[in-house]
């Protein structure tokens, strides 16, 4: 049975991105990643594999880290989205950004926005305590430069700071 060709209509979507409301008309096949990068020019979020295999596209949706390459923008109507641009600025860095700089947790930097968003998500989830847990729960972010040791150091540092602050 031949079905009618798709109507090629856009769908109205409201997203709150880095604290700012965006009312958009989105083609339903647009991924959240392509919307951020191509339409809103928030190019901090990177496209590595486009297939969920590298983590470069990690953003926070309602505070939870996901791969933006495997999510359609229409599926996230109404959500709060935080990208690397929303975490901090060079003048006012997020503690995780500062830790990445201090621990030299990057080389080329391509994976870094995804690593940092992922690490912020990890801390919020509250399931990592040991180094082994940090490594396992950061395994969704690949780094082709192999900066893993320093990345784990940076995340561990922020977790320790948090634990200290909580104990005081």
């Amino acid at each position: 049975m031949p079905s009618a060709p798709p109507s090629l209509q856009t769908v109205p979507v409201t997203l709150h991105i880095n604290g700012k409301r965006h009312d958009l008309d989105v083609a339903p096949w647009t991924t959240l990643l392509d919307l951020l990068r191509e339409e809103l020019k928030l190019t901090g979020t990177k496209k590595g594999c486009d297939h969920g295999q590298c983590g470069a596209c990690t953003v926070l949706v309602d505070g939870v880290r996901i791969n933006s390459c495997l999510s359609l923008a229409v599926m996230r109507n109404g959500a709060e989205i935080t990208t690397i641009e929303g975490l901090g600025t060079p003048e006012r860095m997020h503690p995780m950004q500062r830790a990445f700089v201090e621990h030299d947790a990057l080389q080329c930097g391509y994976c870094t926005p995804g690593q940092i968003c992922s690490a912020v998500g990890l801390v919020a989830e509250g399931h990592a305590e040991s180094r082994a847990e940090i490594r396992e729960l950061m395994s969704g972010n690949l780094c082709r430069c192999g900066a893993y040791t320093n990345i784990a150091d940076a995340v561990e540092d922020v977790l320790n700071q948090q634990q200290k602050a909580a104990a005081e």
């Binding site: 297939h51 969920g52 599926m75 395994s139």
Partner: protein, 337 residues
């Protein structure tokens, strides 16, 4: 990606009738499998039915058991206190799968219905009976490292890639579905199917049916369980072979043994007759040998995956030992317990 129409379903009834009315409709939940396949044009739905607005996000616990809504994310399920208390095996299997980001998006219903990772299924330039019925199977005689050693057919040698489903198989879960003819329950062991002559069908859902939830009865072993997964790297990779084991041990004797294997067949693999060889005995190397001999008696390699037969033996041996000792595998702990 091919263009498609989009429908945000407001109710289960609306989703089911859209599925039934459009032969090329697909449900989308977390999107982590479907969007991937759409980018390769392996899936090209004419209508995408977004079920994320439906009220299927709850985990309900009662005296009799636990009901997991189809839209509960893999992360929420894995860290749920009740699941960790009653079914720690399920939590462990979930945490062995994919990555934290993927688990945050992936849903129970989507995990159950994810498609094979067979390289040829993904590559539209090759022949694949699952993707295009009747076209042939380029995996047979091709690169078969990840393919099945049990229950394969001349039409398809693919495996089911899920970790969650292996634990569900060991726990005798029940899948609740709804379709044009109403609601029904499908025991997990009947949910996924062997490829036979019709590998295009992964499972026994009828056209227009969708999953509403998954039920688990009672409680499983709090101590004598393990989910052991061997793969090409220590995290963020699909299983080559995995085993979910749940033992009930009283006075040192095995009263119930449930063992499901992943990565070896078109569905999570269980053999109830083989399991009976473990029951009524103290856990021992002899009992394990008898179990393995029976369970893998029909195992057949395809060349590139012959190693999986030996690997499966070793995985079962180690998993049974860990479960009997009450030292379940922690997914961040890569050492052998």
């Amino acid at each position: 990606m091919k263009r498609f129409d989009y429908l945000k379903a407001g109710s289960v009834a609306e989703a089911v009738s859209a599925l039934a009315a459009h032969p090329k409709a697909r449900l989308i939940a977390g999107g982590t499998n479907l969007v991937d396949l759409m980018k390769y044009d392996v899936e090209a739905p004419g209508l995408l039915v977004d079920i994320n607005g439906l009220d299927l996000k709850r985990i309900e616990e009662s005296e009799n058991g636990t009901r997991i809504g189809a839209l509960v994310t893999n992360s929420d399920l894995a860290y749920h206190p009740g699941i960790n208390r009653r079914f720690p095996l399920l939590a462990s299997a979930l945490l062995a799968g994919a990555s934290p980001q993927l688990r945050n998006a992936a849903t129970a219903g989507g995990n159950l219905n994810q498609r094979t990772r067979c390289y040829y299924f993904y590559d539209t330039a090759t022949r694949c009976n699952k993707r295009q019925p009747g076209s042939g199977c380029d995996a047979i005689g091709g690169v078969t490292r990840i393919h099945a050693i049990l229950g394969a057919s001349d039409s398809c040698i693919a495996t089911h890639p899920s970790d969650m489903c292996v634990a569900l198989a060991a726990l005798d879960a029940v899948v609740e579905v709804e379709g044009p003819n109403g609601r029904r329950d499908i025991p997990i062991l009947d949910y996924h199917r062997l490829p036979g002559e019709t590998p295009e069908r992964d499972n026994t859902l009828s056209p227009g049916e969708m999953v509403l939830g998954i039920r688990l009865e009672g409680e499983a072993s709090p101590r004598h369980h393990t989910y052991l997964k061997l793969r090409d790297r220590l995290s963020y990779a699909f299983a080559l072979v995995s085993a979910a084991v749940d033992l009930k041990i009283e006075d040192g004797v095995v009263r119930r043994a449930r063992v499901a294997l992943g990565g070896v067949a078109h569905k999570p693999w269980r053999d109830l007759e083989a399991e009976s060889l473990l029951v009524g005995r103290v856990p021992s190397a002899d009992a394990t040998d008898a179990f393995i001999a029976r369970l893998l008696s029909g195992a057949k390699g395809q060349g590139g995956n012959d190693f999986k037969i030996t690997l499966a033996e070793r995985v079962i041996r180690r998993a049974l030992r860990q479960a009997a000792a009450g030292t379940p595998q922690l997914q961040h702990e890569k050492a052998i317990a």
